[in-house]
C-alpha cells in the first residue's frame, strides 16, 4: 500500500514516516505541510492511504475530506481525542490515531487497513464471478438474460449473431468478437471465423468439424491446434 502524509508539523511527519518504515507494509510516497497542496497532488496521483492531521491552520483535515470527490482511505492523526465522533461520520475514515502515536497502535491501524483492502478485493472477486454467470442480450427491444454455461455455440450471421442455447436460439444484433470478449475463455473457444463454441458441449470431433448437440460446426485449420491443446486428450 502507498500513502501520503499531511501534517503542518514537521516532527509529526517524521514520526509517521518512521512508523511506516518500521511496518514495511506501507510506503510513503509524499509528505505535505498543507492540505491544499495535497489536493492538487491527489488529483493526478493514485494513493491508497492518507495520514491526515485534523488541526491545521486555515484548511483543516475535515475541510480536506469534504473537498475530495472520491477520497482514498484516511487515517486521522491528531492530538485531540474530541474529534473521534465527528471523524467517523466520514465513510473514508478508517482509523483515528491520537498523538503521540505509539508503535503497537500504529501496527493495529495498518492491520485494519490491510483487512479492509483484502475484504474489498474479495468482494470484487465474488461480484465478477456472479456477473460472469450470465449475459444480457437485446432481442426485440428486450434485454434477455442468458445463462452462460447453457450456451452451446455462437454463430456469426452477417450483422447478427445466433446464440444457440439448451432452451432457445437467440438472434442478436452484434458481432462474434464482442460476445467472445464477454464469454469466459476457460469455457469458450473460437473454432472458425464464424463460430465460437462451448468446449464442454462437444460430443465428437471428426477431421475438420466438431459436433455439438446435433449441429456440425466447421473447424478452421488455423484454430484446430488451439482447440486440440484445450481438449483433455488421452
Amino acid at each position: 500500500m502507498n500513502c501520503i502524509i499531511i501534517d503542518d508539523d514537521a516532527t509529526a511527519r517524521l514520526i509517521i514516516r518512521q512508523l511506516c518504515n518500521n511496518s514495511k507494509q506501507i510506503t510513503v510516497i509524499e509528505e505535505f505541510e498543507s492540505a491544499i497542496d495535497a489536493i492538487k497532488y491527489l488529483n493526478s496521483n493514485n494513493i491508497d492511504i492518507v495520514f491526515l492531521d485534523i488541526h491545521m491552520p486555515s484548511f483543516s483535515g475535515f475541510d480536506f475530506i469534504q473537498t475530495l470527490k472520491s477520497p482514498p482511505k484516511i487515517v486521522l492523526t491528531t492530538s485531540d481525542k474530541n474529534f473521534a465522533l465527528q471523524a467517523f461520520e466520514y465513510e473514508c475514515v478508517v482509523d483515528y490515531l491520537v498523538k503521540p502515536i505509539i508503535k503497537e497502535r500504529f501496527e493495529k491501524s495498518i492491520h485494519k487497513l490491510l483487512s479492509f483492502e483484502e475484504s474489498k478485493i474479495a468482494g470484487k472477486d465474488n461480484l465478477s464471478k456472479e456477473e460472469s454467470n450470465f449475459i444480457y442480450v437485446s432481442v426485440d427491444r428486450r434485454l434477455i438474460k442468458i445463462n452462460i454455461p447453457d450456451i452451446y455455440f455462437v454463430e456469426a450471421k452477417g450483422d447478427y449473431i445466433s446464440i444457440k442455447t439448451a432452451q432457445k436460439n437467440y438472434i442478436v444484433h452484434s458481432t462474434l468478437k464482442k460476445i467472445e470478449e464477454k464469454l469466459p475463455s476457460s469455457l469458450f473457444i473460437r473454432v472458425h471465423r464464424s463460430f465460437v463454441i462451448n468446449i464442454s458441449e462437444i460430443v465428437d470431433i471428426e477431421d475438420n468439424s466438431v459436433v455439438i448437440q446435433k449441429s456440425v460446426i466447421p473447424i478452421s485449420r488455423s484454430n484446430k491446434g488451439e482447440l486440440m491443446k484445450r481438449l483433455n486428450l488421452l
Binding site: 508539523d9 516532527t11 517524521l14 488541526h55 491552520p57 492530538s79 498523538k99 503521540p100 508503535k103
Partner: protein, 104 residues
C-alpha cells in the same frame, strides 16, 4: 516537575540513529520558533492564535514523554479558546524546562 526524556523517540527509532538525529534537529529548530510565536500572540491577547500555538507545542511535549505537562498544555489550550489565561505561568515553566533540555 517531570523531566523531558527521549524514551518515546528511542522506542520509535529501534536503533535508527539517523531518525533520532533528524527528529532532535527538527525539535531544536521548531520549538524556539513556536515558543516565540506563542509569547507574541499571548502578549497581544490574541488568544485563539495562542491556543493554536499551544496545540502545536503540545505535540512536542508529548514526544518528550512529559505526560503531566501534556495535560496542563491541553487544559491551557481549552482555557485560551475561552479567552482565559490562568494556566499561563504553569505552561511557561514547561517551556523553560524543554528549552534547557534541548539546549536551544
Amino acid at each position: 516537575m517531570e523531566t523531558p526524556n527521549l524514551n518515546y523517540i528511542k522506542e520509535l527509532s529501534g536503533g535508527d540513529l539517523a531518525f533520532e538525529e533528524s527528529i532532535l534537529s527538527v525539535l531544536k529548530k521548531e520549538f524556539p520558533e513556536e515558543c516565540l510565536l506563542f509569547k507574541k500572540n499571548i502578549h497581544a491577547k490574541n488568544y485563539e492564535e495562542s491556543a493554536n500555538n499551544v496545540h502545536k507545542i503540545k505535540h512536542k511535549i508529548s514526544i518528550l514523554g512529559m505526560s503531566k505537562s501534556l495535560k496542563i498544555a491541553s487544559a491551557f489550550e481549552n482555557e485560551l479558546r475561552k479567552g482565559e489565561t490562568k494556566l499561563n505561568s504553569d505552561f511557561l515553566k514547561i517551556l523553560d524546562k524543554i528549552h534547557v533540555y534541548l539546549g536551544c
